[in-house]
């Protein structure tokens, strides 16, 4: 229990502690923030030891009373998927803070307090097992991220920050109505508890698998939840906030946005949409699958024509997360496992690409592809790192991206829910496009002769930058060579979920109708 608590609350403590420090000592602030984040990361590694991979249920569960009159509790716990994403969060946050040392040059105190607050909220999202608690953490993300983009961002930062805020809030408020409805319905008509209301995830999960919500209502709930999550992922056509937010955010902001924040959307789709609304999920899977495929192709095509490196990487996120969504809605073990590992992969490779772009930007204050060329001559070490990140993103076998894309495509291919092989066939072209736009960009930026004389004297990586990039490279190669050490963490919980979904799919049409009449029975009773 203790490591879970420390992982969750240490960043918050750090954030508050930073407020006490003198703002004129940026060095002290930087190292304190890094210290808090690093210790959190180390502690979170102990969770691997406490976590039993053979158990598909939630583990290290802690429950405390919060608001008893609506049965909302402080309920946290881990399963395989959330453990992987939690580790990704603590890892990326540490890297982010390390990379901020060079990128952030004003108002350090507020900045590092915000980053640690963000880390707290992100950790909370992956741990929360109560819908209200989840929503609180989910919304809490908005405030620090909004300030990070708005204060420390680029030229159009205000526009990007507002767009980010409004897009996210639009989705989440409808999710709030759905949460309330779900809590009321479950509490009053299924479990009949004293509050007549519950947001306890365990209770909802077991209650709704025994008494599924009538499909007509389930559709609306599914849409309300999915809208919020799909905006965050982002799924085409809800992605338009992403390129702006990425382009305007400071480098560490982009890293944390790509590395962790986008995963919250895909995590929510698996955790809530598939678990709570299985019938509606099966019904909607082909449509969301189509959107995912469009996202893959569209993101790749748009990336190809970008002149700004950062924008290119941002659009590539739309494409890469399309694979994740496709894997999730294939509802096969391979697809879901691929999606989970692809979430981690995308966090690592895209995070690293943003770091590399940031390193160029810090040196040249430009991200325009046309400004560069031949950097490999002056920055050999940087070229190697950038190359690894780029190839990982392309999906070169032996590096991490390949595993995720292969598994999701395989899952989609054999998926009975999607029901067509065309999803895989079309998305596979996305992999080819990825190779084209990334390699082409790499060639234009790194190879050839130095055409712009400003690039002649660029310095290669310093020690801090080495320290930022090396851990990511290790993980990229590790996942690529031995993915099983990661896959097996989430394997059992994924299997349990897929079994449940298959059960729902196989001949439950009749069953659902029975449940509808039961529910009507309940409500009739209530009204008498």
């Amino acid at each position: 229990m203790a490591p879970l608590f420390i992982t969750l609350f240490l960043p918050l403590a750090g954030s508050l502690f930073l407020l006490l420090l003198n703002k004129d000592k940026p060095k002290l602030i930087k190292y304190t923030a890094f210290g808090f984040s690093f210790v959190t990361f180390v502690v979170s590694l102990f969770l691997l030891y406490f976590f039993n991979q053979n158990n598909p249920n939630f583990q290290l569960v802690f429950e405390a009373v919060w608001i008893p009159s609506i049965d909302a509790g402080f309920r946290i716990g881990l399963d395989g998927m959330s453990l992987l994403l939690l580790l990704l969060t603590t890892f990326i946050s540490t890297i982010t803070i390390l990379s901020s040392f060079g990128a952030i040059e004003k108002r350090e105190k507020e900045y590092y307090a915000m980053i640690l607050l963000l880390q707290f909220a992100m950790t909370g999202v992956f741990l929360a097992l109560d819908l209200l608690l989840f929503f609180v953490f989910w919304e809490l993300i908005l405030i620090p991220m909004y300030f990070i983009i708005g204060i420390w961002g680029g030229k159009d930062r205000i526009y990007a920050a507002v767009k980010f805020f409004i897009f996210t809030a639009v989705g989440s408020l409808f999710m709030l109505v759905a949460i309330v409805w779900l809590g009321y319905y479950t509490g009053t008509y299924i479990i009949h508890n004293s509050a007549g209301f519950t947001t306890n995830f365990f209770v909802l999960k077991s209650a709704l698998s025994n008494h599924p919500i009538p499909i007509e209502v389930q559709r609306w709930l599914f849409i309300a939840f999915a809208l919020s999550f799909c905006i965050k992922v982002p799924v085409f056509p809800l992605h338009t906030w992403l390129p702006d937010a990425h382009t305007e955010a400071p480098t560490p902001g982009s890293v944390v946005l790509a590395g962790v924040l986008l995963k919250m959307g895909t995590y929510g789709l698996v955790r809530f949409n598939l678990e709570l609304f299985p019938q509606a999920s099966i019904e909607f899977a082909p449509y969301i699958g189509v959107l995912a495929v469009i996202g893959i192709i569209y993101g790749a095509l748009v990336s190809m024509v970008q002149t700004d490196v950062k924008r290119l990487v941002a659009f590539s996120s739309v494409s890469h997360l399309g694979f994740v969504v496709l894997g999730i809605f294939s509802m096969t073990i391979e697809g879901l496992q691929g999606a989970i590992i692809q979430m981690v992969n995308h966090g690592l490779t895209t995070g690293m690409l943003f770091l590399c772009v940031g390193m160029i930007y810090e040196r040249r204050h430009s991200r325009d592809i046309a400004e560069f060329g031949g950097l490999a001559r002056v920055m050999p070490a940087f070229t190697v790192f950038f190359g690894i990140a780029m190839l990982g993103s392309v999906g070169l076998p032996g590096l991490n991206g390949f595993i995720g894309e292969y598994l999701t495509l395989f899952g989609a291919f054999k998926s009975p829910v999607l029901g067509s092989q065309w999803y895989t066939i079309v998305s596979a072209t996305g992999v080819i496009f990825a190779a084209i736009y990334l390699l082409w960009m790499f060639q234009r930026v790194m190879f050839g002769t130095i055409t712009n004389h400003k690039n002649e004297n660029l310095k290669d990586l310093n020690k801090r930058e080495w320290a930022t990039l090396i851990p990511i490279v290790i993980l990229i190669v590790w996942i690529g060579v031995h993915p099983n050490s990661f896959l097996k963490i989430s394997e059992n919980s994924t299997k349990a979920l897929v079994n449940k979904l298959e059960l729902v799919k196989s001949g439950n049409q009749k069953n659902i109708k029975v449940k509808v009449s039961q529910v009507k029975h309940y409500s009739v009773n209530k009204n008498k």
Partner: protein, 500 residues
């Protein structure tokens, strides 16, 4: 019987005593500018203690559960937990306002001690509203509150805007009072009763209600909607809140609104069926119709308030319009009329009091004579020049928007839950849309404060008691947002023990 009768009514007696004696004391000690201030603060604290005492220290077993047995002063007033809860809220709002007033009045050279006794008088009016069991007593409470507000909004008598606000408020308020009184008269005529409890009992059980009863209830709703500033009777609110002294505007738009809403709860709540089943006893007078009317008023109030606030350049005016919308959110609790709805009203009223008063206090600290420093653009770069003010204003804005972990969110969550429970999902969706609209202008102020570079206009503000108000308000918003159970349990207790 007599023992707790005194105990129940003690807060209202105390506050009336302090309000009237404050004027006398001021007349005796004319020279000392601070005496009214300290006297009223002490008075309010004593009243809060009495109110808390009436809630907690009473032997619960002795208190009769049935409404008619809790009547005091021969059925004119009634003791209910809900009213006691709101007594505390009004006094806290009074303390926050008075703390912030001293500095503000001093700067505006209007440090006159009647100010404090007027605030206390209006609180006495609010308390009488909460305890009323008789339409006439309710009317007296509303008038006592309103007349104090008319004077308070025109308190800066050399300032044209302030005078305009007072006159406008008075004329329109008097007009609305006419509606209110006429409605009460018709209800009396139709039911033969002026006792709220008996009259509403008659209304919900009578088989064939006369038309004048429906007209009477309609007029009553119109009159009360005016006091709450609900659509379509909200037009006075922006002008009055804009022209009134800033601190007073904060007080009027929170405690005043909560009191008017409480009046609405008292009169309309018994008419709305608690369960979802339809009342088909009579055709002309139908509880579900009233529920629908309130729901429509609530929806329109939320939307119109927020849409109008969207285009405001003036911070004070923006908050004035948005306060209209918050009345709409609170009305959702009446529409729902279930335990979550009552908890929601209580909780949201508390949260709203802290955030709205806090926001108005910040405006009062920054504004200067002749309407200076009131535009959103004047707040540019506030986080650089006044980091504390900017941070607290940020908290108030996020809380007003309804972003967790601040208290405003939990209040909205309860209200959403209550209307969904009563089957009004569409109202919850409209409330969500209204919240989204409000997001834009609340965040706009944060943008100005944090993302823009400071202009040259803002001068230093001197530290003073106003910062105490801000500290209390922002800490309360965070604590009640993270641990809402304190308030929820209290309001729950108020209901379970003495339900209306």
């Amino acid at each position: 019987m007599m023992g707790y009768e005194i105990q129940f009514i003690l807060p209202a007696i105390l506050i009336s005593f302090f309000a009237t004696s404050a004027i006398v004391i001021d007349a005796i000690l004319l020279k000392n500018k601070s005496v009214g201030f300290y006297y009223s603060i002490i008075g309010l604290i004593i009243t809060i203690i009495a109110a808390v005492f009436s809630l907690y220290k009473t032997n619960v077993a002795l208190i009769p559960a049935h409404h008619s047995d809790r009547l005091i002063t021969k059925g004119m007033l009634v003791f209910s937990g809900y009213a006691a809860f709101f007594d505390i809220l009004f006094c806290v709002a009074g303390i926050l306002t008075i703390l912030a007033s001293k500095q503000y009045l001093k700067r505006e050279y209007k440090e006159i001690n009647e100010y404090y006794s007027l605030i206390l008088l209006s609180i006495a009016g609010m308390m009488i509203i909460g305890h009323a069991n008789n339409l006439l007593v309710l009317f007296i409470g509303i008038e006592l509150m309103s007349i104090s507000f008319y004077i308070l909004s025109g308190f800066f008598r050399t300032n044209a805007r302030s005078v305009e606000a007072a006159l406008k408020y008075f004329l329109l308020g008097a007009f609305a009072t006419g509606f209110l009184l006429y409605g009460m008269a018709l209800i009396y005529g139709a039911t033969g009763n002026i006792d709220i409890n008996k009259a509403t009992f008659f209304m919900t059980t009578v088989v064939k209600a006369p038309l004048i009863l429906s007209i009477g209830v309609g007029l009553l709703i119109i009159g009360l909607s005016f006091k709450v500033a609900a659509f379509p009777f909200h037009q006075w609110a922006p002008d009055v809140y804009h022209g009134a002294p800033t601190v007073v505007a904060g007080f009027m738009s929170t405690a005043g609104k909560a009191a008017a809403l409480l009046a609405m709860v008292i009169v309309i709540r018994p008419l709305i069926p608690q369960d979802i089943e339809k009342h088909e006893l009579n055709q002309i007078f139908n509880g579900d119709t009233i529920r629908l009317i309130i729901a429509l008023i609530s929806a329109a109030t939320m939307l119109i308030g927020n849409i109008s606030a969207l285009v405001q350049k003036n911070v004070k005016r923006m908050l004035a319009y948005s306060s209209v919308a918050h009345a709409g959110y609170l009305l959702m609790g009446i529409v729902a009329n279930n335990p979550k709805g009552w908890d929601g009203i209580a909780f949201y009223a508390v949260a709203y009091m802290f955030m709205q008063i806090g926001a108005f206090v910040i405006i009062s600290l920054l504004e200067r004579n002749n309407e200076a420093n009131l535009d959103i653009s004047d707040y540019a770069g506030l986080s650089r020049t006044h980091p504390i003010l900017a941070a607290t204003m940020g908290i108030f804005m996020f809380s007003l928007t309804g972003i967790p972990p601040f208290a405003g969110f939990i209040g909205k969550y309860y209200l959403f839950a209550s209307v969904i429970e009563s089957g009004y999902v569409w109202l919850a969706i409209i409330a969500v849309i209204a919240s989204l609209i409000s997001l834009y202008f609340y965040i706009g102020l944060v943008i100005s404060m944090y993302f823009k570079e400071p202009g040259e206009k803002l001068q230093e503000t001197e530290k003073g008691l106003s910062y105490v108000t801000l500290g209390i308000a922002s800490v309360a918003l965070i604590i009640f947002g993270v641990f809402p159970s304190y308030i929820i349990n209290l309001s729950h207790q108020c209901f379970n023990l003495f339900l209306f």
